[in-house]
């Protein structure tokens, strides 16, 4: 990096390159104008009712998992008519950015903030501030610290997710009697949600399945390529590994591809959390027997329903059930609204789902 010569500028080129850049950006933006699509500002025709603004904040914007949740949320907002839905979150999945978004929405004075916290500790101060301002706070998808939110729209507790994955793996491996080495490919080493799952998985394995031996936990830094590479290396370094848990939506397909390319389909099991679309080819090809997830669109739908009910006072403390429109009655346990059971996608049922 040396100083370039202070020579006469070529204005033409500057202008040209700037124009080229701007044109580039505009052409790229044109399929998705800012006013609609994913920011989803829905305007109802009925102006008599008071508008309720609900912010739905995902852990990481741009993940198909959250996009499919947002679709369900949109549907609920449309159905209710008095809800203005804002869907936005950090594209890089940074907890710090999520916290500052919550602070922004607090200042804007929205009615409900529904957040899927990346790191419950980091967002807690911001959520408490929002509650102090009279904003209804929900956590969805993953729980926040209890005193920083009103309700948790719970599709599955961290414990249930962890147990679900371990049980599925044991079943795929052929029952609790099979002795097997397994490994986990996680997101970042510091990823808060994944670390909680790992803890629960470890204790569950210790208590229930003494024949399962967890030999390694490796990060994939949310990079599919790295997940692929790590899985490849682990299979060679630990030839006895019989199962991989891909516990983020990026590490799961990466791990499955590595097993498939190593020609170990059927010998090495892979399971984890991901949307059915991204795993379809592996499930149909047999590399992956089961994918653990829940109905994401219903989760988004329920979250908006609960948010609206909370803001209009329809949902009161002590209620034990909640009328969730097309989903029917949902149970409320304490301060948690329960969506229902975990779904396990297999060859038999995966074609029924498209998200």
């Amino acid at each position: 990096m040396k100083k370039s010569n202070p020579r006469k500028m070529h204005h033409r080129f500057v202008v040209l390159s700037l124009l080229a850049g701007i044109a580039f950006i505009f052409t790229a933006c044109s399929p998705a104008p800012p006013s609609d699509a994913s920011s989803t500002q829905l305007v109802s025709k009925d102006n008599n009712k008071k508008k309720i603004t609900i912010c739905l904040i995902p852990k990481k914007k741009g993940l198909p998992y959250f996009t499919s949740c947002a679709k369900g949320a949109e549907e609920a907002a449309m159905e209710l008519g008095n809800v203005e839905l804002i869907y936005d979150g950090p594209t890089d999945g940074s907890p710090e950015k999520q916290a500052s978004m919550i602070e922004q929405y607090t200042l804007k004075g929205v009615d409900v903030i529904a957040v899927s916290p990346n790191d419950p500790n980091v967002v807690a101060p911001a959520l408490r501030k929002a509650r102090a301002r009279g904003i209804h706070v929900l956590s969805w998808d993953a729980d926040a610290i209890q005193d920083s939110r009103d309700y948790f729209v719970n599709q599955a507790t961290a414990e249930a997710i962890a147990h679900g994955m371990v049980n599925t793996m044991v079943k795929d491996l052929g029952g609790p009697e099979t002795r097997a080495d397994v490994a986990i490919v996680t997101a970042y080493l510091t990823a808060a949600n994944q670390n909680v799952w790992i803890e629960h998985m470890k204790t569950h394995i210790d208590q229930q399945y003494p024949n399962l031996n967890l030999v390694a936990i490796k990060p994939s830094d949310e990079d599919q390529k790295l997940a692929f590479k790590v899985t490849q290396d682990l299979m060679k370094a630990y030839p006895d590994i019989k199962g991989f848990f891909g516990i983020s939506s990026v590490s799961f397909p990466g791990a499955a591809e590595a097993v498939k390319q190593a020609g170990k389909t059927g010998q090495v099991m892979v399971t984890g959390l991901a949307t059915p679309n991204s795993m379809r080819s592996y499930v149909e090809g047999g590399t992956v027997k089961s994918v653990v997830l829940w109905n994401t669109a219903e989760l988004g739908y329920l979250t908006i329903k609960v948010g609206e009910a909370l803001a209009t006072g329809k949902l009161k403390q002590g209620d034990t059930s909640f009328d969730a429109g097309k989903l029917g009655k949902k149970k409320i346990a304490g301060d948690q609204v329960l969506l229902g059971d975990i779904l396990v996608f297999t060859k038999e049922n995966i074609h029924q789902y498209d998200f």
């Binding site: 790590v230 591809e257 991204s278």
Partner: protein, 318 residues
């Protein structure tokens, strides 16, 4: 003798890689299996391809830290072009367009650096940020999960039982060697980096040389994307994150000077080999769960060690 060997970065690094390999394969012989060496080579291929471009950028006295986000945009646009549920372009058209987009982004960098005189680190930092946002917008929250077989072949196919990505890497290396040693462009790039004023006085067009190295890097990034992304069945929006740092580290560990004018392909190759094998080595050493959390520190110390050893030796040489 030893100082002579160490003075040439490539030889020093090569010996170090040899030592590391010996130690690991002594502890875990599986490391030397043909399959593992092949896997390491395939992993290194895209990094190697991009490094060939970035090395020339550094030799010309500039820097390019936008390649990671370029890969993101290229992967996303390639995916959208070929996907059966999106644009459905024929694969060869999509490949050609991807290469063109790569060159286009490289040219954009190059124009701003060479003709608008903006420092390259700023241009490419700006592009690193902007192109990552652009990738998210292109993908619009949905990933591409239906790459056609022809495109998957680029990443998974083999010719004479050697993966396509390795053939491509060999081709790129051969071209780079030819470019450096057999064409006037190569000499001009080195001349521009070691002494821009003199090069200018000698009648070289520094601007067009700079424009060329950036466009070349853009093209190579597109090539790397084409042979590496289809290894996976899903194109996500995070492809390429952090690649720019890895590539710059490889190139710099390989002895290329950030001040321009100095850099050898053999050094860069050794840098790439070292950087891509470290994490595999750490897995094969089976250091246990606690060590997982130290792996980034160990990688950092390797880089630090390589750089400091080199400086120590070159300082003592004087």
């Amino acid at each position: 003798m030893i100082t002579y060997l160490l003075r040439h970065r490539a030889i020093g690094l090569f010996l170090f890689i040899g030592l590391l390999t010996t130690v690991v394969s002594w502890i875990n012989p599986a490391f030397l299996s043909a399959q593992n060496l092949r896997d390491i080579a395939v992993q290194a291929a895209p990094i190697c391809i991009i490094s060939c471009g970035v090395m020339l950028v550094l030799v010309a006295g500039e820097i390019d830290i936008s390649v990671g986000s370029m890969m993101g945009v290229l992967a996303a646009s390639m995916g959208i072009m070929v996907s059966a549920s999106r644009a459905q372009l024929p694969p060869h058209v999509a490949i050609a367009l991807t290469l063109l987009i790569g060159i286009g982004m490289g040219l954009f960098n190059g124009l701003l650096v060479a003709y608008a005189g903006v420092p390259s680190i700023i241009v490419t930092l700006g592009m690193l940020t902007a192109l990552r946002g652009l990738t998210e917008i292109i993908m619009n929250g949905a990933w591409i999960t239906d790459l056609p077989e022809e495109i998957r072949f680029l990443g998974t196919g083999t010719i004479l039982s050697v993966p396509l990505s390795l053939w491509t890497t060999a081709g790129v290396l051969a071209m780079t060697i030819w470019l450096i040693h057999r064409t006037p462009i190569g000499r001009r790039i080195y001349a521009t980096g070691s002494n821009p004023q003199a090069a200018q006085l000698a009648g070289l067009s520094i601007k067009s040389i700079k424009l060329f190295v950036f466009a070349w890097t853009g093209l190579l990034t597109a090539v790397a994307t084409l042979v590496s992304v289809p290894q996976l069945s899903v194109v996500d929006s995070g492809i390429g994150v952090g690649t720019e740092l890895l590539v710059v580290t490889c190139v710099v560990v390989g002895g290329t000077s950030v001040n321009g004018g100095v850099g050898t392909l053999s050094g860069v190759l050794c840098g790439v080999a070292l950087m891509t094998m470290i994490s595999t080595v750490l897995i094969f050493l089976k250091l246990g769960e606690h060590a997982t959390y130290w792996s980034r520190a160990i990688q950092g110390l390797f880089i630090l060690g390589a750089i400091l050893a080199d400086h120590w030796i070159s300082n003592h040489k004087k």
